[in-house]
Symmetry: C2
Subunit: 581 residues, 2 copies
């Protein structure tokens, strides 16, 4: 046996024991005739002590150890005179009697410490060293714990974990599919799944009743916006259920995770219509850690000869509580913020509700005190509040003011990473118009069912058809989404028609699924959670990259192993493909 | 709520309850004025009863239901007059008061029953219907249970599940890599991993200490021999351990699985040297459910002018207990067996130890009674036994007799699928000679460490160098294998040199790993179990295909979704590749 215990296990209870520890040299210091070495492993840090008087040779060997050397040290657990009560092992040290270097180490290219001096690129190239750092490794441990807790919860509810294939079929919808040339079937290609959607629906047709999988999915797309070409989903599906069953089951999952991983009792998750979310927050994933809801002002602001508002489709305000004292410079900053290309707005109107009760707006030329009192009442302002108003076409102004709302949330410290607010957003539209292709796309995916009462609108007002679709949002991030599926061949065919598929195309691509619906498909529905995103929220991180052991960069490259890379001509020949670069 | 309970839950305890069930029509029969319908879901079968006198319309609706229709039925739990005590639900039936067809079903192309009339191809095309059959679905449930039990066991021992990337780098060794063209990095390719080997070693360098993953791996190779292009591994790695720690930890895993999944107390797993396995069974994965060990006979058979034996490098016999009564025809069958191309032997010698004590061989011309008594003693025969002897070059004759031994095991009923015999095979050779490429290959993989005392032989007798490598064998099938890895840059470089890599090639392909070894790599080792194979053994199946929800056929095709398939010219253009078929 190489070691008898780990570097995180020994406490005052172990005094007098002879132990063997293995680990990395974290740091070392010499103090008179003594040398102290902190030895580190995944479990903790323990102090080793060497004494020149006791054993000169051993102490000199210890003095020759460099940072990150891998050592094996044997000795006796003794009480420390200088205790460090911040560490579980801080009351003891090991009086070393034998030392072996298991592996020497070159000086790492950056500090292996909670705070490191390594830049992003360097840490990615030496990711195996970055993963030695506590904060990074702890992210992986949280991820592990969440995965195990998810499985325990779902297994306990009779969900069966089924592995669906990774080598599947490319679809013309699948512009973002990764494809894999087949050697055995030269000229043909597999595709990597963007999700196991059709397979999990087939499992419902098979009568599996409750399915889940924590599964890698793939998307070959632009990687801005914190995406990865391979990502992980918690993928779930249930039969013989209604939307209510799904919401309850998976609200239970999320609450269980908060309890088990963070010790937090998440309250019951509120529910909001998509239409209300758009109206009140300008977003289908509102951050509900803070209020600051939109108030629509059309009825109060129109017809006063202020052309910006008169020409606008929608005028909305938010109440930034306590911001009346904002300086001109601060207000200018907000104007600059909304003019950034990412937001793309042109102007911002404000109304100060001063501490003395007076109202002062940036459009006093057009609105008298009575008018402003109307605004103030609508936005329920108190002395000290600042109303921010934007105007424009409905979709745009909502999106723009939503960005400003989040910015105000940041400025007011209302978006604490240790506060969690979850929300179900319900009744998404079934279809959304795509300007580029000039046709409707499925907002969720083509297998989502419309609300039965809205099916009649499919031909006449497709944009108004609501879907049995739902998202779970935590702190303004969509962490999961799903729908009740179509389980009827005719309705599925109708849906494909509305998405612009010819009957032949639909049959060629999804014939197997529509055929399956004819052999007794149960009503079913499901949900998928973005596992990386969920982990990043639990770990209090902004980026999913930090909860992935070996992530790729924004160009889809793994700089550590240098991938992707060119391959041999011989290999290409065998696959019967040719690079045209 | 669509249903109040499942089709497997109601017993005599539920009498008088009003329930709603959902499921598939398994069968239906009319008896006078009554109609009985068996409704099925994943959990069981429940009998529904309809009565013409009570409700003519409802009963007629029931009579119109076809097999596999999906229905929702409400009614009262009553006691059955004609009880079926073989079923948990067999004491009750549901007197139906309301019936709804949730989905009609066409007649399935084969019987959805434990025994089906569907051929392989048909069942694969309609795999979602095949998965409705109990035996097939039960395989998936066993797989699920094993996966959860594996995770519980390893999580309990502080192993951390880490997801390693699926889009990695192709290696020249990787003739069997699937490759994935990158759109963002046109002209370059990712590869799909044949195993997460290098990543799990990097995790050890990172100090993860104990890692596992149940992970999809990929190999683009000939699919005979029950292989699949995508398969699943239980992949594990540990730091600061010796071989003994690995054997104990994973013997514990296997014994836990046998206990939890099958209720079997597997005894301590015996250990055998690779050299002994080859000598005693002619195989590195001996089926130890039965004995019938090889006995080498060179010293007894040479020099008697029997040219076959005189010219042979090795002569070996096995004792087929109780087979002396085999007829000429039966012996001829065995000769035919060994002459099959898969075995490839030319002749079989036998010695009968007759019930009357006399000895009779097929080579009496060359061997007198005294000689045969020597054979008999060596093979420890009793009256009634039949000795089967083969001769040839060492490697070939061992392989051939090993096949015959398994065949005799089958004929004698010694290979019961409900009996389990596990074995560790230890100390595999490090290298094996490849006739085709005329160089040595790593028998396990290039990261396996040689036994320290054998390193001196690397230059002079490479074939004799033993590795710190081990396999777990159950019932003659290799279910897992692993090794203590090299963790030293110089030794890894030496290993690559012996495998015919130039220094540049080694650095280009595995530089990131060798670099990592310089920053403090701990001693480490691991193991990987073939998860599909393990599941098939627990399910008592011969083929791994039966424990995979959506398997591919021998040509690597998924006939259900018709994959692989051709893809659009547009898609190929975007990827900057061209098919040369």
């Amino acid at each position: 046996m190489l070691r008898t215990t780990t570097c995180g296990a020994l406490t005052i209870k172990n005094l007098g024991e002879n132990v063997i520890l293995c680990g990395w040299v974290q740091k070392s210091r010499d103090l008179g005739g003594m040398t102290f070495i902190d030895i580190r492993d995944r479990y903790g840090i323990t102090q080793l002590v060497f004494n020149m008087d006791d054993n000169r040779e051993l102490c000199e060997a210890a003095r020759n150890l460099g940072r990150e050397f891998v050592i094996k040290a044997s000795g006796l657990v003794v009480e420390r005179s200088n205790k460090n009560l911040k560490m579980p092992t801080g009351e003891v040290e090991i009086k070393i009697t034998a030392l072996e270097v298991l592996n020497a180490a070159k000086l790492p290219p950056f500090l292996i410490d909670d705070e490191t001096d390594g830049g992003d690129d360097l840490r990615m190239k030496y990711r195996y060293l970055d993963l030695r750092r506590n904060p990074v490794r702890n992210n992986m441990i949280i991820r592990h714990k969440i995965a195990q807790a998810v499985r325990r919860y779902l297994d306990g509810l009779d969900f069966i974990e089924v592995e669906t294939p990774v080598l599947i079929k490319s679809t013309p919808e699948g512009a973002r599919d990764f494809v894999v040339p087949s050697r055995m079937n030269a000229g043909e290609f597999y595709a990597l799944p963007q999700s196991p959607q059709t397979f999990k629906q087939l499992l419902m047709v098979s009568g599996f009743d409750r399915y889940f999988q924590i599964v890698k999915c793939f998307r070959d797309e632009d990687l801005r916006a914190d995406r990865q070409p391979e990502f992980t989903q918690i993928d779930c599906e249930m039969s013989f259920i209604e939307q209510e069953d799904i919401l309850n089951t998976f609200e239970g999952l999320i609450r269980t995770l908060f309890k088990e991983i963070k010790g937090i009792d998440l309250p019951e998750v509120p529910r909001m219509q998509y239409a209300d979310a758009m109206r009140l927050y300008g977003s289908d994933k509102p951050d509900t850690r803070f209020d600051m809801q939109f108030v629509e002002l059309n009825h109060l602001v129109k017809g006063k000869d202020f052309p910006v508002f008169d020409h606008a489709e929608l005028v909305i305000g938010i109440n930034a509580k306590g911001c009346a004292s904002y300086t001109r410079k601060q207000v200018d900053e907000l104007t600059d913020f909304i003019k950034r290309p990412q937001v793309g707005a042109t102007g911002l109107i404000y109304l100060r509700h001063n501490e003395d009760g007076s109202l002062k707006s940036s459009v006093d030329k057009f609105y008298n005190e009575e008018d402003l009192k109307g605004w103030s009442a609508a936005l329920n302002t108190q002395p000290g509040d600042l109303v921010l108003v934007m105007a424009g076409t409905t979709d745009k102004v909502r999106k723009q003011l939503s960005e400003l709302r989040l910015e105000m949330g940041n400025r007011l410290g209302l978006r604490d990473k240790n506060v969690f607010s979850a929300l179900w957003v319900l009744d998404f539209p079934l279809l959304e118009w795509d300007e580029e292709t000039e046709r409707y796309h499925a907002m969720h995916h083509p297998f989502t069912s419309p609300k039965p009462e809205d099916i009649v609108l499919l031909d006449t007002k497709p944009a108004e058809v609501r879907a049995n679709a739902y998202d779970m949002v935590i702190n303004g991030t969509e962490v999961g989404g799903g729908s009740i599926r179509i389980h009827d061949r005719a309705l599925q065919a109708l849906m494909f028609k509305h998405l612009g598929f010819s009957t032949e195309e639909a049959q060629k691509q999804f014939g197997f699924l529509m055929d399956a619906f004819e052999f007794g498909a149960p009503p079913h529905g499901g949900i998928a959670f973005g596992f990386d995103r969920l982990c990043s929220i639990f770990a209090g991180l902004d980026s999913i990259r930090d909860v992935i052991a070996f992530p790729k960069n924004n160009s889809g490259r793994d700089v550590m192993i240098d991938s992707p890379s060119t391959i041999d001509e011989k290999q290409l020949n065998e696959l019967k493909i040719k690079s045209t670069v």
